[in-house]
Amino acid sequence: MELNAFIKNFEKQFDDELAEPIHAYTVFKEIEEWDSMIALSMIAMVDEEYTVKLTGNEIKQAQTIEDLFNIVKEKR
């Protein structure tokens, strides 16, 4: 499971091009375009791409995109 691919999959969930580029260390909840719909899409994407059930609590606790990546990797 590869971090760059995960970041690309994360970015795909946004409908428009992001105002700022994103990285592993980006605090995803501070992305201007982040909202509850993106959170739901993230959960669905992770289930589809990585066969992992990411929970609302885990998204709440994670800070960076890399945090999310690690949670998913751990659960695989």
Partner: protein
Amino acid sequence: MISLKNKKVLVTGASSGIGKSIAIQLSQLGAKLIITGRNELRLSETLILCEEGGHTALIADMTVESDINQLVKNIEEIDGAVFCAGIISYIPIKFLSNDKINDIFDVNFKCQVILTQKLLKQKKINKQGSLVYISSLSSKLGVAGTSVYAASKSALSAFVRVLATEVAGQKIRANTVSPGIIRTPLFTNSETSIADEDFDNKENAYPLGYGNAEDVAAYVAFLLSDNSTWITGSDLVMDGGFTLS
């Protein structure tokens, strides 16, 4: 005063949540129950919590037609049935698939229809019987992620209206309850898409707070009783005032 003495009632989805609470409350009102669910351990727990009354617990997976056949074959004629089995899933529309749609519709809609069909075909519902289906407030709203869940519950509500017409000749009644958010494992399981903190915060949108399974059980008991003999084809929204705003 509601009494269900001398009434035999089938409760599906009785292993947990609303179904479990309904079973327990109906037993307290004197009903003789046939409870069913997939999980043997949790179904046994429901049975233990019921008031004594000669109840039966039958394991059955409602999505397996042969299980439904066995269940209907093994029960005596009933005076009421409560259809509680259901699953929820938050999936944005762009992530839907045939399989996901089928999974939700199979449990929330098809198996309720098939069970109803078999109960009627095999004449297992006594005249003046009462059938109660648990739908959801989601079927009337547009909450993100609930497209297929809401559609399945809407389909169920529509089905029950027609059912009410078809069985009226036998004085059998069919009604639906559409609850808002109830604190049950369906929602409070920490493995859900909604964070605990957000779930608690969303409760502010309910003037009377989230509901409890007992709230739904009380209304179901009313529908099963002789106190509601003129009510059929209804769909009651129970939402603690949520839709007022």
